[in-house]
Each structure stands twice: as C-alpha cells, then as structure tokens.
Symmetry: C2
Subunit: 233 residues, 2 copies
C-alpha cells in the first residue's frame, strides 16, 4: 500500500518541551522573585499529564482539553510550593506549552517531508495549543489534528483510526512518527505504519528515554532529515 | 474586544469553484467522448448541496461528509444524463472539489492577513477536501477547521461557536470572512465579527450574487488585499 500521509506526535518528537518549559518557569521565577528547582518542577508538571489523561480515558472525567489538565496540575504544584499568583498569571504560565521550541532539525525536516506527503499533527495537545505553537515556531503542517477532535486521547485506538478516517486514507496509508515506543505500538496495533525518531535529550542529558526493540517499527530515524532520506522526500 | 482570528468560508470566498469544476467536467467529457452543457451540470451539482446538507441538519440523515453528499448528487446527475463510468472514475471526478483554484488575490491576501491574525478555514467542506485543496493551491492556513469537526453544517450556530471554542477565543474575537450574506448573518447572530468579500464572478459573468444591505456587516471588502488594508495587516 502507498504511504500518503504522516502524522506526528508533537511533545518530545517535534518540540523540546523540557528546555522550553524550564526556560519559561525560570523567567516566571525571576519576575516574581521566587527561586525553585524549575527543572524538577517541569518534570513534575509533565508527570501529572498521564494520570489526568487516564482519568479522562477511563471515563472518570468528561472530555477535558490538555490546556485544562495542564492548568489543574500547575495549580497543584504552585499550591504545593506555596507560590501565590493571579489567575491571569497562571493562565499566562500555563500557555508555556503553546510556546515550545522545535528540535533543530524539525522545521527543515518537515518542509522536506511536506513536499512528498500530507503532514499533520496527531497530538494529545488541544487544537489551539498546537496551532499557536505552529504559528510561533514555523511548523508547516498541512492540517492540525488532535485528540481533541476525536475526543479520545492517545493511545486509545480511536485517535489513530480517527486520524486516518478524517484524512480519508486507509490506516496503512498513514504513518505515525513519534519518539515514544508506547505511542507507536498503539498506532501499529491500529494498522498504521510506524517511524521511531530518537530524541535522546527529551528528558535532559543523562536520562535515557525508553527505546524500541530492534526491528519493532517500520523505520528508525536519528532525526527528521534521516526520516526524509529513508522516505525519499 | 481585540480581533484575534479570522475564519474563512471557502467555496466561492477563497476559491472559484465554478470555473474549476467546469474545467474538470469539460476534461472528463473529452476523456470519455461525451459532450454536454458542463456549465449547467456544474450549477446543478452545486445546487444539490444545500438540500442534501439540510437533510443532515434536520436529522433526516446521520452525519455525512460533504464528499459523500457531492458524490450522491454526482451519481444522480450522471444517471440522469445516461453517462456510465466506473466507480473509480466517479471518485476521481468527485475529487474535482479538492482541486479548486483560488481567486487571484487569495494566496497573497491570506499571507498578509496571517502575519497579524490566526487564519483558519470554517467551511462545510470536509477536512480532507480542505487539506488537499490547500496543499495544491498553496493556501497558508494556520489550521483547517470544518463543519465535519463540529458535526454541524453552517449556518447552524454550533459551527461558528465550535470554531471559537476550539481556538480558545471569545466569539467576538473571531471574524467570519465570507462572500455570502446568509453565512455572515448566522455568524453575526452567534456573536462573531463579520467581513463580506465581494466575489461577483462566483456564479459566472452576468449573474449577480446576493448582496448585503449597506452597513449590515462590520467590514465590506472588494478582495483579500482590501480586507488586509482595512484590518491593518
């Protein structure tokens, strides 16, 4: 079957959320005269995302966009650290996730891949987050698709199958590109093609992210240029 | 309230569906050695869209994407003209709506407007149609939103309000840009800003499309450059 479209995981795969969020938190601390271990705060913030999302996936919470899950966790962490700021300041800080910087190869690699394939996001981030991020960072998506549109967070199969359906392609004509084996396994189980892209610095230096087994996915790439090379783009 | 985002009607407002569909039908006729009044065929094809959509809006049909409504009408028209072609050829011809050419000012005007505002589609066309069209024509959308995402065709208020909600802006921070007064009236009733763009050739030379009353909408523009001038973009 011909490959027609590429769907990209975003946090960690396209953008370096860690460095970006730490920089935003550090600037926030400086503005408010607060010192803290902002790298650990960023990890704790991100770590709140999976359990909150799983409550939505299990039906314990109604559909809740990622901005609101992020905000809930942020308020918990600020309260825990006895940091008091206005609601507007919390919103502004929460939008740090709209202002993440791409990995150095992301924009140029996507421009290459876009010449040959339809390229879309397939992220748990909400549409406004992904759109604001793309506009700021120059990510040249053909369209912006999100768990929010399918009302199912990844790794629910409805997210992968919904992406193929709305693009009007067969699952096998769509490939998920991600730095996370669990995401790719779920995409493979839904019938999509799979490309693992190594992002060894996602969690900072010296912390090795989960790696796939050899041959587990269709493609293994060091970055988006390497992926474009393998796909003839 | 600050204007933050512009949502564009597409068929007739951004692209010249009439000339494009007539050209596709003419080429189809030439391939199959069929002569017909293709301009009238195009009008009849387009004319089938509102009643079919209204059956979905009224709940007589379940949600059906525009590609499938277009295809149903096309099959009726081909049958009525005793034209017999394969299912693949019908699909290929039906995708004429994915290959519409922009008005001469559309791409450059959108590039200007995009510098200052978030720009999105808000069309009854389905996501794959709009995405394929944008990729072919170079329409630089920040994201691709559609009635398909909100499961409500315009002029249902849910389409306009759903667009504001998913962009995380207030209705008054969003402006609909359209060449059709009825679309703009529904957007205004939902609380959006409104910009009428005159597209006098939408239905071909010598057929004047419906015009708005003086002062009925927030802005009145001759084309997208004139709109950009008025919005300071």
């Amino acid at each position: 079957m011909t490959l027609r479209a590429l769907a990209f995981d975003v946090f960690g795969t396209v953008v370096d959320w860690g460095s970006s969020v730490i920089a935003e938190l550090t600037a926030f601390g400086r503005r408010h005269g607060i010192s803290a271990d902002w790298a650990r705060f960023a990890d704790d913030w991100r770590a709140g995302y999976v359990p909150a999302m799983n409550r939505v996936r299990a039906g314990e919470l109604p559909w809740t966009r990622l901005d609101d899950l992020h905000r809930g966790r942020l308020v918990e962490l600020l309260d825990g650290a006895a940091i008091t700021v206005s609601d507007n300041e919390i919103d502004e800080l929460n939008h740090a996730w709209h202002r993440l910087d791409p990995w150095p190869d992301s924009v140029a690699g996507l421009q290459r891949l876009k010449q040959r394939f339809l390229i879309t996001t397939l992220s748990n981030g909400n549409v406004s987050l992904l759109t604001n991020m793309a506009k700021r960072a120059g990510l040249p998506w053909d369209c912006v698709l999100s768990a929010e549109i399918f009302r199912h967070y990844k790794p629910d199969p409805q997210a992968y199958l919904g992406c193929a359906d709305i693009l009007d392609v067969a699952p096998a004509e769509l490939m998920l590109v991600a730095a996370h084996p669990a995401d790719l396994r779920a995409a493979r189980d839904a019938g999509l093609g799979t490309a693992f892209v190594a992002r060894p610095l996602e969690w900072g230096p010296g912390r090795t992210p989960p790696q796939p087994a050899p041959g587990e996915f269709d493609l293994f790439a060091d970055d988006f240029h390497h992926l474009a090379d393998q796909l003839g783009a």
